[in-house]
Symmetry: C4
Subunit: 206 residues, 4 copies
């Protein structure tokens, strides 16, 4: 699909994420594949309000992250989107800053979060039973994602079955075959984060 | 009522459930009786987004679960809907995946959840006082509901007054005379789950 | 104002309360004064869905609770509305079933809930400073409000400054000069309930 | 911009804040600069419902707080808005009464709240890294903000890098270059309050 076709779909999804409180301030970003070879992505621009995002605030970048369509500064985390698309063959990538992903990635000691035994896990691509253990790697936060891209690629390679990853005190990255698939996986993971966070408040098992 | 009449009502109710966070991802399903004898149900298809559900994504199944109207794969839990309609004479069945039903069915040891003394209980069919003890059986989760249908029927027979049941780490089944009645009972039970879950966070009595 | 003028305003307010989760199922009820002498109230009918309430589901009752306008069964708690209007000179009465009023009235030992020191208290009629202690009586729940009306009147007389009262494991009654004033007071009290409930989860002082 | 241009923008923002539960009852207020020299502000009037705010309920005040345009009583906290605009050169000021700002300012002992290490902090003006410590002063509440204005000015001078301040058991003040900038900073701070409040419920570190 072209930038012109993808941009309004991305803007619509951004407004939905904002309404749920997952892209407040100017946080969060979304991309979708325009072309596979050579790789080109439609991606949200930097520092824009996701609750009022317009199609004109989406740009097209090439595989090096350079703008090749539309105008504006692409998200500083564009290198992460490109790395995920390459590693997973994804058609769309979503990055949310939610309350519960922030809290869980903060409160969890160690380099990953395990989620296991919930029916909702079946909403993840290729998972056919609740009897599944999802392991989401947790990366330490940085402000230089261009430099950190090789580390992200290594972690994606080390965890070939992971459906997303967390950045500590920052948020979630997930993806899908297309925007609808990425949205579905985002909803599943955000639901499970909320379940795990609220359950800890009740059962006191940190 | 015909599939053509029920489908838009089911789609509308699904969108409301999605907005409340009770049918995220592609979770949850809804059915309503088209004909009693022989039994035919209108039911949501499998793997569809409840926030954007259209009337075309509802199919009609017969008493064996075979599609006899519309096109698409009926929910894999169709056998549960059929069992409930037979056992309770319900006109509509609702299945939600909410945060609090997931947490409570997970945190509760034992095969059922007791709820007692709340005014909101009067919203359940045939309950005329808050001085009522509702016992919701909790079933273990499975991926083979066709095989588990006899167990569900046995539990419904053992608990003839239960207004719903929980599936562990999965969600709620409830029902009513029609879609409005099932929705009402869903709202009442989800409210009570949230009350019980949040109260535990305060009073620390697991 | 006439029933015809008040009914759409009441229906609109009911839908807002439903959207906030304060009148789920068929819970909650609303009234407004049509005439003071002899007293006549417009009041929601019993067992109706507040999320889809229409003006036709509001009836007019006289001072004994008999229907004198519109058609339908008035709320079973009509005697409480009449008692409040008489005791406080209110122009409108609101009764909500919220999560936090249910939990706080359940978790609080004793016959009332004290709220003190919050700026939001200034939203209550006649309160000009946060340095105010609001005492909301808690009544035990019953199913015979006609019989309990004298007790309600005694409690209202004993607490002439109370801006509302709670019914245990049931919900809140509050009121105002008109529907807008009652709504304002409802929002203030519900906000404070949520603050107190959530704060207990953090500071662990039951 | 003129009062006529700013008033509908302020009213729209007020309705959004109300919908999120940050301006319930008649709480909260908003201002924006009309002229810098001599200073004139467009500001919400006192005691109005923010969920139904109209442009006619915004007035223009001069640097002494006197109404010079529109009609109505300006917010009693107008002196705070004027002090902030002078001290920070802000173009817009927002004051919210949220659940979490009320709870955190209540539960925090001491004269300020530190927030540190969260990616969302980058949404604050001039903050370029999550490795930032934000210190929000907490002021004791009062009902005489005209008299307290010098204290507010002193605190703003003592904390030149603070992006907002809290009033105990009352709420948040923040600001920005314009209404969009103030809204962005409000969303960032409210998000962080909710993260910190909910995290305490889990990790039990008061």
């Amino acid at each position: 699909m072209s930038l012109a076709e993808l941009a309004p779909q991305i803007a619509d999804l951004a407004r939905q994420c904002y309404a749920r409180g997952w892209m407040l301030g100017t946080s969060g970003n979304i991309s979708a594949v325009v072309e596979r070879d050579p790789l080109r992505l439609a991606i949200t621009t930097s520092g824009v309000d996701k609750g009022a995002l317009t199609a004109g605030e989406i740009v097209e970048i090439d595989q090096r992250g350079y703008v090749v369509g539309g105008s504006g500064l692409p998200s500083a985390e564009g290198s992460l989107h490109l790395a995920i698309v390459r590693a997973r063959g994804a058609g769309a990538v979503l990055h949310t800053h939610s309350i519960w992903s922030t809290i869980l990635s903060d409160a969890t000691v160690g380099d990953g979060l395990g989620i296991e035994g919930y029916e909702m896990l079946k909403g993840l691509g290729g998972v056919a039973t609740h009897d599944h253990r999802e392991w989401l790697p947790i990366l330490e936060n940085t402000q230089d994602w261009a430099a950190a891209a090789p580390q992200v690629e290594r972690i994606l390679a080390q965890h070939p079955k992971a459906h997303g990853f967390l950045i500590r005190r920052h948020g979630l990255y997930t993806w899908g075959r297309d925007l609808a698939g990425a949205r579905r996986q985002m909803e599943v993971l955000e639901f499970l984060f909320e379940v795990m966070g609220r359950k800890r408040g009740i059962t006191w098992q940190p």
